[in-house]
């Protein structure tokens, strides 16, 4: 039987490990197989109201007229909410960590920036009447020019779709997040080879089987209890409190049971308006996405573009890496500014490269606002970087694992964003993977270690 703990690498660490290496039943498995696990919608309330949204049909338009009278005529509709009903009409989900400016309204006041943007909330006794009411809202639009790809958004004469005057987020006065380490142009001039390739990806929808939603229940003591499938309970509670006003401890969030999140349930998107509906009616309110809304309206992974230019010596040392990358925020910032920062900090990958230049852009388009997904900011980056490594290896007729071993970062190396590498283990992982797959490495690569620079020409 294979030893589950590597006692060579973790010498002395194994003595107090009693769970690692054993098989432990999941705590939630019993509830899942008996159908007893309580997802938010499994909360059954006799007098729950239902909230459905009237959404923008245009990519980019001014709102000339919003007429809710048709909705109010539908039997069963009890309340309609517009931006006027929102005390602090800003999402800006990252403002709790100081990211500005306020960028995304809970409900838009004068314009819409993407097809699917919520405009009017209709609250009714049944889902059917809420859907009917939402369909009866009439909106008159004045179309504005729309940009639907990052390339369109960044062309010189592109229509500017954001009030701060640019189609990209401004990082401390710059149009992109920047890393500057050494002198890439000088290194390119010295390199034996210069390779430049481009990588692209499209938006990806998380498509959880459980759609986004919440039920907000007014409590006898004036608080609101929010039952939500958010992955981000504290983001949700704090941002909701900022939006609806009043002390944070007015809200109580019951959550943690998520029917598939993958990063798609961190947007605080249903709870604030459902809370306002609950306050306005003093009744429980459910706001749950339909499957269509989950696919088209809920956040996706960003579309991304990477251009990676490497200066490489004949022996495989990468001496310079210049990365220009673009992540599509869609119509609003959301979490994407943070994703772009993560992406920039991730460069140039797990390799010690003495000259690094990164320009990482957060780009606005008139598309569904994007969000995190499985390795936010780094998954697509790694696809680009590791494909690049394979292509370099092929061009140099070098073993792709040996190329990586030669360039892998070691403990004590200074990374491009000025953090010192510690606990590096890429070398050992590659060596072990090679061993397990029967991939032979030349002896000098077998002898490499994360703890020394032996075998690496510096």
């Amino acid at each position: 039987m294979t030893e589950l703990i590597d006692h060579d690498y973790f010498a002395g660490d194994g003595d107090d490990l009693h769970v690692v290496g054993t098989s432990v039943t999941r705590a939630d498995a019993l509830g899942h197989v008996t159908g007893r696990t309580q997802f938010f919608e499994d909360l059954l309330l006799a007098d729950c109201l239902h909230l459905k949204m009237h959404r923008s049909e245009r990519h980019h338009a001014l709102l000339k007229r919003v007429d809710v009278s048709g909705a109010l005529e539908v039997p069963g509709v009890v309340r309609v909410l517009t931006h006027e009903d929102v005390p602090e009409n800003w999402y800006t989900v990252l403002r709790l960590i100081g990211v500005e400016p306020n960028d995304q309204p809970v409900l838009p006041e004068d314009r819409v920036l993407w097809r699917g943007e919520p405009i009017v909330a209709v609250v009714a006794e049944t889902e059917a009447s809420a859907l009917e009411g939402a369909a009866r809202v009439e909106v008159e639009y004045e179309d504005l020019p729309a940009v639907l790809t990052m390339e369109e958004a960044l062309t010189e004469d592109a229509p500017i779709i954001k009030p701060h005057g640019a189609n990209c987020f401004i990082y401390e006065g710059h149009p992109c997040r920047r890393i500057r380490f050494g002198n890439v142009e000088h290194a390119f001039a010295q390199a034996d080879h210069v390779f430049e390739w481009r990588y692209e990806s499209e938006p990806i929808e998380h498509a959880p089987v459980e759609t986004t939603g919440c039920i907000v229940v007014p409590q006898p003591n004036g608080r609101l209890k929010i039952h939500s499938n958010t992955q981000a309970a504290f983001f949700t509670l704090d941002n909701t409190a900022l939006i609806i006003g009043g002390p944070f401890n007015r809200l109580q969030l019951v959550g943690g049971t998520v029917g598939g999140g993958f990063g798609g349930k961190v947007d605080v998107i249903v709870e604030p308006i459902a809370c306002l509906a609950a306050l306005a009616t003093n009744r429980p309110v459910e706001y749950v996405y339909s499957r269509l809304e989950e696919m088209q309206v809920s956040s996706t992974r960003s579309a991304e573009i990477f251009v990676v230019k490497d200066g490489v010596m004949a022996d495989g040392r990468i001496v310079a890496r210049k990365v220009t990358c673009y992540m599509e925020a869609g119509a609003y910032t959301g979490h994407t500014t943070y994703g772009v920062t993560k992406c920039a900090a991730h460069m140039p990958g797990p390799y010690s490269i003495p000259n690094v230049w990164v320009d990482a852009y957060c780009v606005y388009t008139n598309r569904t606002p994007t969000g995190p997904m499985r390795g936010f900011g780094v998954t697509n980056a790694d696809f680009a970087l590791e494909t690049q490594m394979d292509r370099i290896a092929r061009a140099l007729e070098m073993d792709p694992l040996e190329l990586r071993l030669k360039n892998a970062y070691r403990d004590g190396d200074l990374k491009a964003h000025r953090k010192v590498a510690e606990g590096a283990a890429l070398v050992e992982v590659i060596q072990r993977a090679a061993e397990l797959t029967g991939h032979e490495l030349a002896e000098e690569y077998e002898r490499m270690s994360s703890l020394t620079h032996a075998g690496v020409g510096v």
């Binding site: 059917a128 009447s129 939402a134």
Partner: protein, 267 residues
């Protein structure tokens, strides 16, 4: 908004319940998604589930299948074993227990797999209406539907002799996916030569397409690589492919000849 769901116990009562604007429902696979997720215009639905028009009879090699017979029931009937490739590529087991052969006539491509097959089988559709009953070729029902107030009660078709029915459905996934393209054919051979051919394409237009040019290219020739290749090219001329979430028109046209060949020759 929906106000009434009628569940009549007979066709006659179904016809009575079909007042202006009432929507017919067989298995519910197209009506219920609307009722569940959007504001519906219609106020009344007439369910045929209990109207007594399900069941399979085979007499003198002619099959008569009640309109509300489910796809799963068809798949379980030994006498219709030739249709198993169609059943097994049709949606998923829990949906097959609901979807009806009659309802499938009204599902636009790239759904409506049974419509494609029934056209290849030269099926006849029994229709009941306020003025009485009539039989009509399935082509007409696929193209024009039935009149308001009418109900499809059964479909009938000759059971093809062994080795004369061909079917292939190309999908994006192994199971539970609509057609990129599909091909259904009944080819009768005599002395090694195709004597008659009915070939129908799915995913090649909003309704099943009778591939007449392909049929013409097959008749009078042996069923071999050369004749099938020529027929596959001709089939493209019969097709008007379209874009949707499953495949682009370009892709459908690009792969249609390949799946056409595989349907008739295997591989």
């Amino acid at each position: 908004m929906l106000e009434t769901v009628h569940v009549p116990p007979s066709v006659d009562e179904a016809l009575l319940a079909l007042r202006d604007g009432a929507v017919l429902m067989g298995g519910g696979t197209t009506v219920m998604p609307q009722v569940n997720t959007m504001p519906v215009e219609f106020t009344e639905v007439v369910s045929l589930r209990r109207a007594g028009i399900s069941g399979i009879e085979v007499v003198d090699a002619v099959a008569t299948v009640g309109a509300t017979t489910t796809i799963a029931e068809i798949g379980a009937d030994e006498r219709l074993a030739f249709l198993r490739p169609v059943v097994q590529t049709f949606a998923s087991p829990p949906l097959r227990n609901l979807a009806t052969i009659g309802g499938n006539l009204f599902v636009p491509q790239p759904g409506g797999d049974f419509g494609v097959c029934l056209l290849a089988l030269d099926a006849t559709v029994a229709v009941a209406g306020p003025a009485g009953t009539r039989d009509v070729g399935v082509a007409e029902v696929l193209e024009h539907g039935v009149a308001a107030g009418e109900v499809v009660t059964a479909v009938s078709f000759p059971v093809p002799a062994d080795g004369t029915f061909f079917y292939r459905k190309a999908m994006r996934r192994r199971y539970n996916s609509a057609a990129i393209v599909s091909v259904a054919a009944v080819l009768v051979r005599e002395a090694g030569v195709v004597r008659s051919a009915r070939v129908v394409l799915g995913g090649a237009g909003s309704r099943p397409v009778r591939a007449k040019a392909a049929e013409h290219a097959l008749v009078g020739k042996p069923l071999d690589d050369a004749s099938v290749a020529a027929a596959a090219t001709a089939a493209l001329a019969d097709a008007t492919t379209f874009d949707d979430a499953f495949a682009s028109a370009w892709y459908r046209s690009r792969v249609l000849p390949v799946h056409f060949r595989r349907a008739l020759l295997g591989g």
